[in-house]
């Protein structure tokens, strides 16, 4: 991919939080880039560091207790990390928009929806209240909120969860961002409303030519929305590749574990779900070796002692995996191939 197409480049990002119990190493050397117009999904379970990663990029980590201990995040070549609030505001809300999991607590309950959207335009674009309010109506219409002119005068409690998420998307689009970060945007919503919001995001991505970073724990949402996927575990990206690589050529045991833990509607219903035994490592003192070592069915001695490097999978530069099994001298694990084969009959 040409370098100019990468609008966001994150390199070796590390974030820690100081607590009474010590320092939590929440993000441990995360690197990825976002290409213009694509959807990158960051998938992982609670506590894997996916939200902290994007909060660091947005300058939303409270410091203290948080601390960015290393790395860089460049938006079109401009460094985002370590900016003063004033400088950061030239990027966040303008070039990068963000929506959150719980729209009810992310919007101000004492302001009308219209004023909250207008505020963005007044602060960032210097518009008058009148102009900004007028544009707020257009933005709500763009996100398909019926009777937008009446709706702008209402307060968040008068909106349903799905409508609030639309309003939040409208607000994040106010300054035509080139990237929209969506942190679990549909987790709190019903499946029918989830479908509406995902469809809206896909539509806006086409019309506005935005990139989307979608943070989620739901592999089904990933399958529907993503072009590329980063799988996170214990503060690191353990596997990264195209959506097809991740689903049909999974190369990291954790990715496979996640897939086997979910019911598949194509397969046999009598097939037992395979939970991942144990729980994620303690990030106060992260393990010396691979973070997944203790839960991995294919763990080797080496895995306990040394952090796996990032390996290119099957010679495909875009598909990378942090697993010693990808080393050329590693034993071949049939289970990896078997598990992928189970799914390939849907072709």
């Amino acid at each position: 991919m040409p370098v100019s197409d990468r609008i966001l480049e994150v390199n070796d990002l590390s974030v820690e939080f100081s607590t009474y119990g010590g320092n939590v190493k929440a993000v441990r050397g995360v690197s990825f880039s976002v290409i213009r117009g694509e959807t990158l999904a960051i998938v992982g379970e609670s506590g894997c560091g996916k939200s902290v990663t994007v909060q660091a990029i947005m300058g939303l980590i409270p410091m203290p207790p948080g601390r960015i201990t290393g790395g860089s995040a460049k938006l079109n070549g401009h460094e985002l990390l370590g900016l003063e609030a004033k400088e950061a505001n030239q990027f966040r809300g303008i070039q990068i928009g963000m929506i959150f999991q719980d729209p009810m607590t992310s919007l101000n309950p004492t302001m009308t929806i219209g004023d909250q959207i207008a505020e963005t335009l007044m602060v960032h674009r210097g518009k008058s209240h009148k102009e900004a309010s007028e544009q707020a109506v257009d933005l709500l219409e763009k996100t398909h909120i019926p009777e937008a002119r009446m709706r702008v005068k209402q307060y968040p409690f008068e909106f349903s969860g799905g409508m609030l998420q639309r309003a939040m998307i409208a607000q994040s689009l106010a300054c035509n961002p080139s990237i929209l970060i969506a942190d679990e945007p549909t987790t709190a919503l019903d499946v029918t409303i989830q479908s509406q919001i995902l469809e809206l995001m896909a539509e806006l991505q086409r019309t506005e030519n935005m990139s989307i970073i979608l943070i989620t724990h739901d592999l089904a949402v990933v399958a529907r929305m993503a072009d590329r996927v980063a799988v996170m575990y214990a503060g690191q990206i353990v596997e990264m590749g195209s959506v097809d690589d991740i689903f049909y050529e999974s190369s990291h045991p954790y990715t496979l574990g996640l897939k086997s833990a979910m019911p598949s509607n194509i397969g046999d219903r009598d097939k037992k779900l395979m939970p991942i035994a144990g729980s994620p490592p303690d990030l106060f003192s992260p393990p010396q070796g691979c973070g997944y070592f203790a839960r991995c069915p294919y763990a080797m001695h080496l895995c306990e002692e040394r952090q796996p490097e990032e390996f290119v999978v099957q010679g495909r530069q875009d598909h990378r995996s942090r697993c010693w099994l990808q080393h050329q001298d590693a034993p071949k694990v049939d289970a990896l191939h078997q598990n992928n084969a189970d799914r390939s009959h849907v072709d």
Binding site: E45, Q194, S195, P263, R269
Partner: protein
């Protein structure tokens, strides 16, 4: 039939003459040893129905039978004592459903203590036994809920429901607050317990793929009424009611190739308010196949084949 309801209704009075029709005439039977999955959106009344079944809500009208025996509409403390041996519940939120001031021993042992037929040491032994059955450790007994993760708390909630040896358990979204890898652990645990104890389960959830995986039969609820019931695979793969069809179309699959080929036509609008309902099909205002009489006439239940029923004018 272990459990049967006939036109069960639960209405809440809101004041100013407004009535919320949370459950509005649900008739269903659950056979012994069966897992019935109940799906529907938030506000469809599925949790209220589950609670009304085991006496946590007083019924407004209709009947509910356990083993052929009519359950009281409003449980007295004596009824609770009697029926809690047979009917139990596992709750959605493992954080708010455990008392933070009680130890695990007190939480799990409380049911036995209230029944009053066991000594303290017997209770302690049984709690220890149950902790290991649900994959925890007897040492955990003296700890408090905040010392456990979400998945572990849900195991405590399961032990609390099971220790008394119930026949019928309402599982109200037992996994929706949990991570994917932990969900599978809890589902497998429930299935094991169902086998070993011969349980009958009402499994309430909004995750359609999980309900299809877990359940023998599936029931779909919309605004307080059942729109479709049938064997889980029939309902999932050949849904008849327009609402079920749209619900299943909205459900994404963890399979990118499949997702690229299937149409994404989201269902229009949102679930309406169950306050002061009028007659007619509840789904009429969102239904793509709506007909004139749908808006005024409530559809009756139609039997399509073995065990597959639908409440829709298209099939009458």
């Amino acid at each position: 039939m272990l459990i049967e309801t006939v036109q069960l209704k639960k209405h809440f009075t809101l004041g100013r003459g407004q009535i919320l029709h949370a459950v509005d005439g649900v008739s269903i039977a659950i056979e012994e040893n069966e897992i019935l999955g109940l799906v529907g959106e938030s506000g469809s009344g599925k949790s209220t129905f589950g609670k009304a079944l085991i006496g946590l809500h007083a019924r407004t009208s209709g009947e509910a039978f356990y083993n052929g025996e009519l359950l009281p509409a409003r449980f007295s403390p004596k009824d609770h004592l009697h029926y809690s041996r047979e009917l139990q519940m596992i709750f959605q939120d493992p954080y708010s459903s455990l008392n933070p001031r009680m130890t695990v021993l007190e939480i799990i042992g409380e049911g036995l203590r209230i029944q009053g037929q066991h000594s303290k040491s017997q209770i302690r032994d049984q709690v220890a036994d149950w902790l290991s059955k649900v994959g925890l450790h007897a040492d955990h007994m003296s700890r408090y809920p905040h010392e456990f993760s979400g998945g572990q708390r849900q195991r405590i909630g399961i032990a609390r429901a099971m220790i008394i040896g119930p026949k019928f358990v309402v599982c109200d979204e037992p996994i929706s607050a949990l991570d994917v890898s932990v969900q599978a652990q809890i589902i497998n645990l429930l299935e094991e317990l169902k086998q070993s104890m011969g349980l009958t389960l009402l499994f309430i959830a909004h995750d359609l793929s999980m309900v299809r995986y877990v359940s023998d039969r599936m029931a779909v609820m919309y605004l307080g009424t059942l729109v479709e019931t049938g064997p889980a695979d029939d309902v999932f793969f050949e849904p008849k009611h327009p609402y079920t069809q749209l619900l299943i179309e909205s459900n994404p699959e963890p399979d990118p190739k499949l997702e690229r080929t299937r149409p994404h036509i989201p269902i229009k609008g949102e679930i309406t308010s169950p306050i002061n309902m009028k007659p007619g099909c509840r789904f009429a205002d969102r239904c793509p196949k709506v007909m004139e009489h749908c808006k005024t006439v409530t559809p009756a239940v139609t039997s399509l084949s073995d065990n597959h029923t639908v409440s829709c004018h298209l099939y009458q």
